[in-house]
């Protein structure tokens, strides 16, 4: 299933619900929790930072293959940005040292089986995969 949303300003919730309504996304509650959370963190990033004015598009594609692997991809033509280049937060820091924020992408990486990013044909492509038959 592929859905294109444009413009995307303020549309984080719409992006999340688009994915959650996809027939490729299973009904299992634990899986849906992980998927929703991961999608929210990525959608939030794209909506807030991809385009300076929020006037661009995001293309969301979901596929479920025969082995039960669910793939969710996000494509936008915004500012080139690889969220995976960012270092993981240090989760062992004490309360005082712990900075507020910077956890979104890290949560997505932890919840999914794999995440990847490629800049291609002028577009950011972020892909997350999770095995739905674990």
């Amino acid at each position: 299933m592929t859905t294109r949303i444009v413009p995307i300003a303020g549309k984080t919730a719409e992006i999340i619900e688009t994915v959650m309504a996809s027939p490729d996304v299973p009904q299992d509650e634990t899986l849906r929790f992980k998927i929703r959370l991961s999608v929210e963190e990525i959608a939030e990033n794209i909506v807030n930072y991809a385009y300076n004015n929020g006037n661009g598009f995001v293309e969301i594609t979901t596929t479920l293959d025969e082995s039960g692997m669910l793939t969710i991809s996000f494509k936008d033509a915004g500012v080139p940005f690889n969220p995976l280049e960012k270092e993981d937060p240090d989760i062992t820091l004490s309360l005082d040292e712990r900075p507020v924020g910077g956890l979104g992408i890290f949560i997505c990486k932890k919840m999914m089986d794999s995440v990847s990013y490629v800049f291609e044909d002028g577009c950011n492509n972020f892909t997350m995969k999770i095995n739905t038959r674990k």
Binding site: T12, A13, L37, E40, S94, L95, R98, V100, F106, I107
Partner: protein, 100 residues
């Protein structure tokens, strides 16, 4: 996300219900504003009916914990659902916030 704050015998009980996400994180921040103003905070957040939290919710809980600690007070989160607990675990928040 529903937030109900009750004061009883010097303790503050907060009942959290629903999903804490991008659509309501800033409203939630406003809802819990009174907790940042407590002089001698002793707060219990009842998470029995909290279905979900994204990183924006975590941000609010971290700020609250920092505030409570700086006031020399106590904060405890209780009855967290397993999937919500997992978010606290993977981010290391379970080691800086008291969860029972």
């Amino acid at each position: 996300m529903e937030v109900i704050i009750n004061q009883e015998d010097g303790k503050t009980y907060v009942k959290l219900s629903g999903r804490l996400d991008t659509t309501n994180a800033s409203a939630f921040q406003t809802d819990i504003e009174p907790l940042f103003a407590l002089e001698d905070p002793d707060i219990e957040l009842d998470c029995t009916d909290m279905e979900y939290t994204s990183s924006q919710g975590l941000r609010a809980f971290l700020m609250l914990q920092k505030s409570v600690t700086s006031h020399g007070g106590k904060l405890v989160m209780t009855n967290m659902k397993p999937q919500v607990r997992e978010v606290f675990d993977i981010t290391g928040f379970s080691t800086i916030i008291n969860i029972k």
